[in-house]
């Protein structure tokens, strides 16, 4: 038989099973996120420079033989994207190891 819930009981941390499921979910999402960031970066050509919002394209004018550059709108992720995405994923993953401080009125 369940006893009625008091306000003190309401502020208690959730049962261990609920907390574990939340942690597993976030850890999984972090790993998937990191893998996605790495896959996207590698699929776009392993750019080891800065991310590019527009890509320079070299052209040659046939009469003057001048080489000139035009820009094509395209996102090419760079090392900053890889580092940022990985750091965010690791931070989320690490956050799941932080324990919520238990609130126990009897200890005060």
């Amino acid at each position: 038989m369940h006893s009625p819930t008091t306000p003190d009981e309401g502020s208690d941390p959730p049962p261990p099973t609920t907390m574990d499921a939340w942690r597993v979910l976030v850890r999984g999402a972090s790993v998937i996120g990191i893998l996605f960031v790495f896959s996207f970066w590698s699929a776009k050509g392993y750019n080891r420079g800065w991310s590019q919002n527009q890509v320079p394209v070299k052209n040659i004018d046939p009469v003057t033989e001048i080489e000139f550059t035009t820009y094509k709108k395209r996102f090419i992720p760079g090392l900053d994207y890889l580092a940022g995405g990985t750091a965010l994923g690791l931070a989320l993953f690490g956050a799941t190891f932080l324990r919520r401080r238990s609130h126990n009125p009897s200890s005060s």
Binding site: R48, S51, D61, T64, E65, I66, F68, T69
Partner: protein
């Protein structure tokens, strides 16, 4: 009797006109209808060099194939036309601490003559242009090694309208400036961005047949 001197006078006048037309300097407009003209720049930096272009080129070069030393002109690039592949970096470059495109909208180089002129083949020359380079409101005297290629009768051909006639002049060059000399973060962040900016240009000017 008087018909012969009149004919001679006419021939002499026609000859003088032709010689004048050939020998007179031509003004080449650097505002290229095909949009090829640009100044490329490069600064060494961490991760990779910062490389981009400044388009929107305007200006003129006055050139006479019979007097290369007398070549003079002014080339200007709109500061706001600076483009690098990274949007955030582009924003920084146009900002007040870098080129400050809002306050100083023009980057220019003006020269009044050429020195050390040497032939480099048919209608090709190398030379040194001494003039004033302006960036971010600061103007300094610099010398730029240039090469010139005169493409006679190619103006119309390039535009797929050979009937237009006219000539082209291609000017190429490469030089470098210290960014600190032009008020661009003097002495700052030199471990991240090189203090020297390398500039390369290849410009074509057109002189339609007059």
């Amino acid at each position: 009797m008087s018909a012969i001197p009149t004919t001679l006078r006419s021939i002499a006048f026609a000859g003088f006109t032709i010689v004048s037309a050939i020998a007179s300097p031509k003004t080449f407009d650097l505002q290229d209808p095909k949009g090829v003209n640009a100044i490329q720049f490069k600064l060494d930096s961490i991760l990779e060099p910062i490389a981009g272009t400044a388009g929107a080129i305007t200006g003129t070069v006055t050139f006479d194939p019979a007097a290369i030393e007398a070549t003079n002109g002014k080339v200007s690039a709109a500061a706001a036309s600076i483009v690098v592949p990274n949007a955030k970096m582009n924003e920084h470059l146009l900002g007040a601490s870098w080129v400050d495109a809002a306050k100083h909208p023009e980057i220019s180089f003006a020269f009044t003559s050429l020195t050390d002129v040497k032939s480099a083949g048919a209608n090709k020359w190398t030379a040194t242009a001494a003039g004033q380079f302006s960036l971010k409101g600061v103007t300094k005297e610099i010398t730029v090694p240039v090469s010139l290629t005169y493409l006679e009768g190619q103006f119309g051909t390039r535009l797929n309208k050979p009937e237009l006639g006219g000539d082209l002049l291609v000017v190429r060059g490469e030089f470098s400036v210290a960014r600190g000399d032009y008020g661009i973060k003097p002495g700052e962040s030199e471990d991240k961005v090189a203090p020297v900016i390398q500039l390369t240009f290849a410009l074509v000017g057109g002189a339609p047949k007059s």
